[in-house]
């Protein structure tokens, strides 16, 4: 299949005298680089400028709370099963009396970890989740010095209770 019209048939023919003299080809190459010299750079100066993200960008995950502030996740493990990269692990626990404010279902994830080095940001966990608990957000996972620091626990994944800390995922919900 022809993808572009720039492809050339390779041949091993003898070079002509002009080609063997290098100079014309060298000058042609220099003309190309000089043209690029005056082109606008393609660089996005990252911390100051950011590339525009798509509304449905698949970045760092968030574990959602419901309208009362209770965690939605019930530690069913479907996301972990769905995950092609095997990035998710969790430990389930039973909800005690008096914890209804914290956890929506009777079972909850005591530990919930995503290894961001394994994750390929495919979004299958989100599709698998029956409780609408996990979503991918527009945030990107920052770089780090240690591999351990890429294992994100509940402290980094669960969104805050206050309305201002809630993360809007409506764009990814109504797909």
């Amino acid at each position: 299949m022809q993808l572009t019209n720039r492809s050339k048939v390779v041949s091993n023919k003898e070079m002509t005298a002009a080609e063997a003299a290098y100079i014309p080809a060298v000058l042609k190459g220099m003309a190309v680089t000089l043209k690029h010299f005056f082109k606008r750079p393609a660089t996005v100066k990252y911390p100051e400028e950011q590339r525009e993200f798509s509304e449905v960008y698949r970045g760092k995950h968030v574990l959602k709370r419901d309208e009362n502030g209770a965690e939605r996740c019930t530690a069913c493990g479907l996301c972990a099963v769905a995950c092609p990269a095997e990035a998710i692990t969790m430990v389930a626990d039973e909800r005690k009396k008096g914890e209804e404010k914290l956890y929506r279902e009777e079972k909850y994830a005591a530990i919930y970890e995503i290894n961001m080095l394994r994750c390929i940001f495919c979004g299958l966990c989100e599709e698998a989740c029956p409780k609408e608990a996990i979503f991918l957000t527009k945030e990107i996972t920052p770089s780090n010095y240690e591999r351990e620091d890429f294992i994100y626990g509940k402290d980094k994944l669960v969104e805050g209770i206050e309305p201002s800390l809630r993360i809007d995922v409506s764009k990814r919900q109504d797909r």
């Binding site: 100079i23 060298v26 190459g29 220099m30 190309v32 680089t33 000089l34 690029h36 010299f37 005056f38 082109k39 606008r40 750079p41 393609a42 660089t43 100066k45």
Partner: protein
Amino acid sequence: METIFLIDKTVIAFIAFAITLLIATYSTYAERKIAAFMQDRVGPDRAGPFGILQPLADAGKFFFKEEIIPDTSNKFLFIIGPGIAMLTALMTSVVIPWGGSLNLAGRDIPLQVADLNIGVLYVFAVVSLGVYGIMIGGWASNNKYSLLGAIRASSQMISYELSMGLALIALIMITGTLSMKEIVEQQHGMNWNIFYQPFGFLLFIICAFAECNRTPFDLPECEAELVGGYHTEYSSMKLGFYMFAEYINMFISSAFMASLYFGGYNFPFMDSLGLSQNAITIIGVFVFFLKIFFFIFVFMWVRWTLPRFRYDQLMRLGWQWMIPLSLLNVFITGLVLLWYDK
């Protein structure tokens, strides 16, 4: 009179030294910027406005880097290597006429450290010494890659020095002198040697690329094959010295090309402007540096355009093409000179 003469020369030598170092420092910055622009990037832009302080930051970093001297190396030679490279790089600037002469307090002060009557020959002698710095450094490192890089550097420099010299002989046949000052003065106005020796200039610039170990002839340090070439084992400011020496060499060969072929500090219509001698001299110095900067730009431009030669291609080009062609150039120049003499 003697002491005043000495003071003049010392001052000029120091200024030339300082300018050489400054330009070498900022060549690193220019190189990175030019590379970036040619690759549609921005280049260093964090240290100071437009990254203008980047070379200083680099130099500072060089000083604070850990100094590693390999256990098995010959310590004395290992340390003296970069020094020799630097010394020979700096020595060549002595004979370059930076400008005409300034008339200060009734005395004519030529802007040249020493007007040797064998200036061109002197440059050649010193440049060929430069290979010792590389060779000693590479040998003393006791590392295969360093040694290979050093051997490549020396064989390449020796091969290309031949055709470089032959290209120059054709020029000297026209000028009839070896003094840099006289060669430049003969090109007064627009009477530049490039119009008499265009082919010789082409040969010369190709050899200059090889002499400075610049792409497409940067085999001594080709990262893909030899790690870092002759300076693989070097760290800290000693590595800095080698890199500095390379940039100084580039600056000096640009100055050399500008003064031998492109009229040095001469510029068109310099007599019809009706300016005083001092003004002409100062403009001349600026013009000279413009020409030098242009050639430095060409050096970098070529570096970021062309891929590297293979080693056998390099040697074949040197011995089978450059030397016969420069001999032919000498021959034709001689014929033409004979013709005009009659």
